[in-house]
């Protein structure tokens, strides 16, 4: 297909603004999917995606419309996957920017719109859900036009649900989005914008060919990593895989690599032909670094090998997932895992539990810290209990938070941000009613419950997005928790000095409630170094007997005892103390009580 008959575009939208529904309608209209095959969210193949209504992995579908080849590159809509979004956008020349007619512009809309603008994409603004009774398409269109510097008349008004206006969207893609402008005769170059893993065929790379052409059985090379392989099969999705002999400049498709190690082929890298290699890779490749960490432990320590295998398999499709073995005195053998953000963490955990049927204990998440011990070298710490007691300097990651709220909530949002060590950056009115606030915050302050707090304090109206802006020094201390005199590594936390006392106090009180009475007194302490800052005691149990037991009752009493025994086995032992798994999550739920 000549490049002037090709259009590559993606759809960007805030969660629930109708991206997947619009994609479904496009597939229907272009007959890529028959009515019989049609189901909701065709592109979202993972159960989790369908349930949460979000897209985790990018996919690309080729459809035909009025003699043009349109490639729809689906993108994840969440901040945690910004890197994947930006790779996907780089594979396109245009983007549909979809906004809900009732809700208007949201933080993710902004973040993704800015990403699209940075990537020089032609933006086709679309107001969706005009069929909703509470829809205000004119206001949404005005806001959207203002955001991207367009006129409201240029904004398409559609209902992806009913199909109204969707044909015009396809026409607008052909009219407004520029065709690809690569050099068909230059040495071949393709951007890997996503990959997945097939257990029989190895790594499958999703690519956008920029220059030249690729053909089946050709020896290829990933330029940044230097990985060499042969293209076992080329093809495209429509929406199922269709093989083809070649992929030419401007086209989007897949390459089956046969590689068995997903880390050998990174998203963002450039593929070229070994026979006639390109001189330089396409710009934009960078290594993504996880910033949020948590310990994952099997509830039943016998499941450790299953957890290891499951992480290995998840990693095949999720290059951003980081994990390394971790041994906790309290929780036994597990893994310290690194995630791009909170949603990423939650998704990994849910996939492990659902797809691999694992029962997991996840410790409170923490961020990465950079520390410099006295007379030592800077190093990165991923586990609070690894923070040395004596440090010369500690740095923690900061974010720039972008929050959009109706103006009446500005005060409460500012208050929340101030409580969270936030530094005010900017306030700007998007319309008469809605305000865009930016703040700089330590990432640590948002990993626990910031989002929930923001949502509840603004009655659900706030939308939130963030960008990492680097490490900054902080007055941070390590608070240890001792149960029965033994430090519990899994409960250690790193916190700003000013909050240490209150947090230690709250945690100790919470644990006192969570840890059941034992056969002896159990002191629970919070300490900074050797200084105890809070203490509570779980008083010893005085009675624990089965009332009576005679000949007719032995079986039932034995079963009761066996149940009691099984209950004990589910507990984790810290020294002599049996601690229920829930107690380790106490740290997670503290903030509801925090003023």
């Amino acid at each position: 297909m000549p490049q002037d008959r090709i259009r590559n575009f993606s759809i960007i939208a805030h969660i629930d603004h109708g991206k997947s529904t619009l994609a479904d309608r496009i597939l229907e209209l272009t007959h890529a999917v028959s009515q019989r095959e049609m189901r909701e969210q065709v592109l979202d193949t993972m159960d989790l995606e369908r349930e949460r209504g979000i897209t985790i992995k990018a996919q690309a579908v080729r459809v035909e419309w009025k003699g043009y080849q349109l490639n729809l590159i689906d993108t994840p809509g969440h901040v945690d996957f910004t890197y994947e979004v930006s790779r996907s956008l780089q594979a396109c020349e245009g983007a549909l920017l979809v906004v809900d007619a009732a809700q208007g512009t949201q933080a993710q809309t902004l973040a993704n719109a800015y990403l699209a603008i940075e990537n020089d994409l032609e933006i086709v603004p679309v107001v969706n859900k005009i069929d909703l009774p509470q829809a205000d398409p004119e206001a949404a269109a005005a806001e959207l036009a203002d955001l991207i510097g367009d006129t409201p008349e240029h904004v398409l008004r559609i209902s992806a649900k009913t199909g109204a206006g969707v044909e015009e969207v396809l026409d607008a893609i052909i009219e407004r989005v520029p065709p690809p402008a690569g050099d068909p005769d230059a040495p071949a170059r393709a951007l890997i914008f996503d990959s997945s893993y097939d257990q029989y065929r190895g790594v499958v790379a999703f690519v956008r060919v920029v220059d030249g052409a690729f053909s089946t059985r050709e020896p290829l090379r990933a330029m940044a990593q230097g990985t060499r392989f042969e293209a076992e099969e080329l093809g495209f999705f429509s929406p199922t895989m269709r093989s083809s002999d070649s992929l030419a400049a401007g086209e989007v498709g897949y390459v089956i690599t046969g590689l068995k190690d997903v880390s050998k082929l990174r998203v963002g890298d450039t593929l070229t032909s070994e026979r006639r290699p390109a001189a330089a890779p396409l710009p934009g490749y960078k290594d993504v670094k996880p910033m949020v960490f948590a310990g994952l432990f099997p509830t039943d320590s016998d499941d450790y090998p299953e957890l290891r295998d499951a992480l290995e398999r998840l990693k095949l499709n999720d290059a951003a997932l980081f994990y390394e073995p971790e041994t906790s005195q309290a929780l036994g053998f597990g893994f310290r895992c690194g995630f791009l953000g909170l949603l990423h963490m939650e998704i990994v955990r849910e996939r492990l539990e659902r797809e691999f049927d694992l029962d997991l204990l996840v410790t409170a998440p923490n961020v990465a810290y950079r520390v410099k011990p006295p007379n030592g070298e800077w190093r990165e710490v991923h586990t609070p209990s690894d923070l040395p007691e004596e440090v010369e300097e500690v740095e923690e990651p900061y974010i720039k938070a972008s929050i959009i709220v109706p103006k009446e909530f500005v005060g409460t949002v500012m208050e929340l941000n101030n409580d969270r060590r936030g530094r005010f950056d900017q306030l700007e009115y998007l319309s008469e009613e809605r305000v865009h606030l930016t703040y700089e915050l330590p990432l640590a302050e948002i990993v626990l419950d910031y989002y929930d707090q923001l949502k509840s304090r603004t009655r659900g109206y706030a939308s939130f997005d963030y960008d990492l802006i680097g490490f900054r020094p902080g007055k941070l201390v390590r608070v240890d928790i001792l149960v029965g005199g033994e430090p519990v590594d899994a409960l250690s936390l790193v916190i700003h000095r000013d909050f240490a006392y209150d947090r230690g106090r709250a945690l100790v009180e919470r644990l006192q409630k969570e840890i059941p009475r034992q056969m002896f007194d159990v002191p629970i302490q919070a300490a900074i170094g050797s200084r105890v800052i809070a203490r509570e005691t779980v008083k010893a149990k005085r009675k624990d007997v089965l009332a009576k037991c005679y000949g007719g009752d032995i079986t039932r009493k034995r079963k009761l005892l066996e149940r009691q025994k099984a209950g004990k086995k589910r507990m984790k032992r810290v020294g002599m103390v049996e601690v229920p798994q829930e107690a380790f999550l106490a740290v997670l739920n503290l903030d509801g009580e925090r003023k």
Binding site: D544, V545, C549, G552, I554, K557, Q564
Partner: protein
Amino acid sequence: MSERARHLYVHLPFCAHRCGYCDFVTLVGRRDQHAAYVEAVLAELALELPLLAPEVETVFLGGGTPTFTEPDALAELLVSLPLAEEVTVEANPETVTPALAVLLREHGVNRVSLGAQSFRPHLLAVLERVAQPDTVRRAFYHLRDAGFDNISLDLIYGIPGQSTPDLEADLDCALALGPEHLSCYELEAKPGTRFTHTHGAELARQADAMESYFELVVERLTGAQYRWYETANFCRTGTSADGRDLRSRHNLAYWRGRDYLGVGIGAVSTIEGRRWRNAPRLAAYTAALARNERPPREHEPLPIDVRQRERVMLGLRLDEPLELAGLADAIDEEALARLTALGLADVMPAPAGPPRVALTPRGRLLGGGVTAELLV
């Protein structure tokens, strides 16, 4: 060689009234069926006679209310049972007339377990007991008058509405009668029963008080020279026992893991690693035995590890040390060391033979948790 059972349990299910908290197999009234039931019980006993040793040590008639059984039928049963060194009958106070006391005594019964439960009228009412405090006292003296020198009283604590002074008063009233034996149980209200439904909130309050009640019971009774020989059982000892061992021999057999044969509806037998329970249905029971067939039963195999666990669970309820011989596989050595360090268990090296373990008084108050910990 086959060990035959030396202990016989006979279940007599009939009651005048079913108390709200009761979860035993009981049947209200049915006076016209008592004789037929006793006949069926004797038929079952005849069928199972080969399982019994020629010399039976103990016989226990439990219920229900065995003394509610029609006197002729009860007498017929008693004369037909094998002779034994200890023959116990459970009795409700209101059924114990002078005549009944004599009947029991004349038919070889030498121990009576009297279900007093409480001496406080408002608590007896909550338990739906027919007897009044004085009914209990009168029954006790009728038994004494008939020559019984081994009487046990049952008390229940943790009754909705009960206070610590109520419990103290109950213990005082019981001690004032000077019974040879006392059983003190915490009220077990089964979830889903009418009783639990009626008394829900108050039961929760009682559950919180149960710790101090149990301590109070143990302190008060051991202070009155009673031996706390089993978690919930006490007997006179030393001079007040005239040199007799007043522990319940029949129940000791359960706690020591001996075999026993149980006959009657709902009765459980455990013999040579097999356990079975007769179905608790009267009609099916009498019908089967009328045909001289075994009644419907539920069988439970007892593999060796289960038997070992039961030995530990039951043995640790006693104040006498448990011999660890043959139980090594059931016991977690590490836990034993931990519990010993906590002052909850004592390991006693026997002069000859394998070591024995006993719980300390505090360990016995925590017996359930300690046992759960100790078992592998």
